[in-house]
C-alpha cells in the first residue's frame, strides 16, 4: 500500500494486489485525511472493492470524477466534498 502526494491537492493511493476490505478501508481513511476539494486517485485491482467504494462515496457525498479500467486494474479519482 502506498499513499503519496502527487501535487498540491492531488494524492495517490496504490492498493493494487489487495483484496477486500483493504482497498475500501484505505480509501476511506485517505478521504477522511485530505481536505475538502482535494482529489485522491485510487488504484486497485479487486473488483468488489469498487462496488464498496462507489457505495461509500454515494453515502458520504464524495464525488468520483473519473473511472478508468484496464486489464482488471482500476484507477478512480475521487474528490472529497
Amino acid at each position: 500500500m502506498k499513499f503519496e502526494k502527487m501535487e498540491d491537492g492531488h494524492y495517490g493511493l496504490d492498493v493494487k494486489g489487495y483484496v477486500c476490505p483493504h482497498p475500501q478501508i484505505y480509501t476511506k481513511k485517505a478521504l477522511e485525511k485530505v481536505n475538502a476539494g482535494e482529489v485522491v486517485e485510487v488504484v486497485f485491482d479487486n473488483p468488489s472493492s469498487g462496488e464498496s467504494i462507489a457505495a461509500m462515496c454515494e453515502s458520504t457525498g464524495d464525488e468520483i470524477i473519473e473511472k478508468n479500467q484496464e486489464g482488471g486494474q482500476y484507477k478512480w479519482s475521487i474528490r472529497k466534498i
Binding site: M1, G17, P21, K28, G61
Partner: protein, 476 residues
C-alpha cells in the same frame, strides 16, 4: 474489440466447453453422472452470479461496520427471501432435500469464530471461491487454509480429548456408534455426538405447530415468520442506522422541516435498489438455489436413492464411502465440506487414517475428488466466476503478498474451525438454513455479525498504523 478481450472471450468459451464436454462424456459413459453434472451446472450458475454481483457474505456486515456500506446486506437478504420463497414451494411439494440442524448456543459461537475469520481472510467461504475464479492467489490460499484446517480439526484427538467435558464423552459413548468410529478419541467427535446431537432440531413451522410440508408450515411458518419478518426487521435497522441520514441529506427539500413516512419509504426502496448488480445476482441466486434442491431430489427419486454414495457404489467406486454407505451430498448449495474432503482424501491416500471420525467416517466419506458431487459444484463455481470475470475484462492473476498470505491463512483457519463447529459456513449454516426456516441459521448469522464487528476492529487498528506511517511520509 481489442486483442485482450478476444483472448478473454476465447478462454471463457474454453471453460464452458470443457464443462460441457465433461457432462456429455461422463453421461455417455454412465447415466448416473448426470447427478454430478447437476451439481456442476448449478455451481457454474452460482459462480457467475457471485462474480457478477460481487456477492460476498463477508462484506455484508464487514463493509457496514468498516465503511458504512449496506449494499451486501441488502443483496443477501434479497437472495435469502427468494430462496425461501422457492424453497417453500419445494418443501410443500414434498421434494425438499433440506434437513434442519440442531439449534443451540453453539451456532452463535461457531458463527462468531467464522465471522472473525471471514473478515481477516478478505472473503467468506463462497466469496473466496469466486475470487479464485477472478485470479486471486490470496483467495486460493484461503480455500487451502479452510480445507486443511477442517480436515485436521475433524480428526484431532490426543491431548484435546482432555478438554472434552465428561458429560459429552458419556453421551457420545451412549450413542452406540460403529466400532470403526472411535468416538472416544477426537474432540470434534465428542462435541458432535455428545453435545450437538443432543440439541433440539426444529423449524419455525414446527415451533408454530405446523409440519414443514403443510402449506401453513412452509409458507406462513418457515417463509413469513422465519424469513420475511426477520429479514425486514434487519433491513429496517440497517436503513435507520446506516442509510437514512445520507438519503435524507441528498433528497429532503431545504424547506421541509422533517422527513415524512413517504420519504422513509422512498429512502428504504432506494437502499434496496441502490446496487442493481447485487440485487439481480441475489435474485438469480435465490431462485437457482431453490431449483437446485428440486432437481437433485427429482434425480434421487428417478434413480431410487437417498444419497450419492449409493450411485458411486453402483458405478464401482467404493473407496471413501462412509460406514453408512453415504458421501457428502447436501442436495443444495454448500461450500466447506467438499473442501475438507479433498484434504481428508489426500491424507488417507498418504497413509493417514481419516475414516475413524464421525465427520468423514460416519457421515460424509472422503471419495475421490474427481467423483465427489459437491467438488464438481465448487470447481464449476470457480469456473463460472472466471467466465464472468473474463467476459467483463476483470480477470487478473494476482500473487499474494506476505501480508495478505498471512491474513488469508489465519482467516481461512478460523473459518475452517467455525464451519465445523457450526456444521457449515456462511452458505450451509446461514444462507441455506435461514432460507428453509431453521432458527439455527439465524443464530449462526448472529455470531457472524459479532465476529465481523470484532474483525473490523482489529482491521481498523492494523490499517490505522500503516496509514499513519504513509501520511507522515507524504507530509500530510
Amino acid at each position: 474489440m481489442d486483442d485482450q478481450m478476444k483472448k478473454n472471450r476465447l478462454w471463457a468459451y474454453v471453460i464452458i466447453g470443457t464443462l460441457a464436454l465433461i457432462s456429455a462424456g461422463t453421461y455417455a459413459y454412465n447415466e448416473y453422472y448426470i447427478y454430478l453434472s447437476v451439481y456442476l451446472w448449478f455451481g457454474l450458475i452460482y459462480g457467475m452470479c457471485l462474480q457478477y454481483g460481487r456477492f460476498c457474505f463477508a462484506s455484508a456486515f464487514r463493509d457496514l461496520f468498516a465503511v458504512g456500506v449496506p449494499r451486501m446486506v441488502v443483496g443477501i437478504m434479497i437472495a435469502t427471501v427468494l430462496f425461501a420463497f422457492v424453497g417453500a414451494f419445494v418443501t410443500a411439494s414434498g421434494l425438499s432435500t433440506f434437513h434442519p440442524a440442531p439449534t443451540s448456543f453453539h451456532a452463535v459461537v461457531a458463527g462468531f469464530i467464522f465471522g472473525i475469520g471471514m473478515v481477516f481472510a478478505g472473503g467468506c467461504a463462497s466469496g473466496s471461491l469466486y475470487k479464485t475464479g477472478e485470479g486471486s492467489g490470496s483467495a486460493l490460499l484461503v480455500i487451502l487454509s479452510i480445507s486443511v484446517s477442517q480436515a485436521i480439526f475433524a480428526d484431532i484427538g490426543g491431548w484435546t480429548n482432555k478438554l472434552v467435558p465428561n458429560s459429552w464423552r458419556e453421551s457420545a459413548l451412549s450413542k452406540g456408534l460403529p466400532e470403526s468410529i472411535r468416538v472416544e478419541d477426537g474432540w470434534l467427535d465428542q462435541y458432535l455426538a455428545g453435545y450437538v446431537w443432543d440439541q433440539p432440531v426444529t423449524t419455525f413451522a414446527k415451533m408454530s405447530g405446523w409440519s414443514n410440508e403443510s402449506l401453513m408450515g412452509a409458507f406462513l411458518g418457515n417463509l413469513v415468520i422465519g424469513v420475511i419478518v426477520p429479514a425486514a426487521v434487519l433491513l429496517i435497522v440497517v436503513y435507520l442506522v446506516w442509510s437514512r441520514k445520507s438519503y435524507m441529506r441528498k433528497n429532503l427539500g431545504r424547506d421541509q422541516p422533517a422527513p415524512t413516512f413517504a420519504d422513509d419509504l422512498a429512502g428504504f426502496w432506494a437502499m434496496i435498489t441502490a446496487n442493481k448488480r447485487t440485487a439481480i445476482a441475489g435474485l438469480v441466486l435465490g431462485i437457482a438455489a431453490g431449483m437446485h434442491m428440486f432437481v437433485i431430489q427429482g434425480l434421487r427419486v428417478k434413480f431410487g436413492v437417498k444419497n450419492a454414495g449409493t450411485l458411486l457404489e453402483r458405478m464401482g467406486f467404493d473407496f471413501g464411502i462412509s460406514v453408512n454407505g453415504t458421501v457428502f451430498d447436501p442436495g443444495y448449495w454448500y461450500v466447506t465440506t467438499q473442501e475438507a474432503q479433498w484434504v481428508g482424501w489426500t491424507i488417507q491416500k498418504l497413509g493417514g487414517e481419516n475414516m475413524d471420525n464421525i465427520y468423514f467416517g460416519f457421515v460424509n466419506g472422503i471419495p475421490n475428488p474427481a467423483i465427489n458431487p459437491a467438488d464438481w459444484m465448487s470447481i464449476a463455481l470457480i469456473g463460472g466466476a472466471a467466465v464472468m470475470a473474463l467476459l467483463s475484462n476483470e480477470f487478473k492473476l494476482k500473487r499474494p503478498t506476505l501480508e495478505l498470505a498471512t491474513w488469508a491463512l489465519i482467516g481461512g483457519a478460523l473459518m475452517g474451525i467455525g464451519s465445523r463447529l457450526g456444521l457449515g459456513c456462511n452458505v450451509g449454516a446461514f444462507f441455506v438454513r435461514v432460507s428453509q426456516g431453521d432458527p439455527s441459521g439465524w443464530l449462526f448469522g448472529l455470531g457472524m455479525i459479532g465476529g465481523a464487528y470484532i474483525g473490523v476492529k482489529v482491521f481498523n487498528w492494523w490499517t490505522e498504523r500503516r496509514m499513519a506511517r504513509q501520511f507522515e511520509a507524504s507530509g500530510i
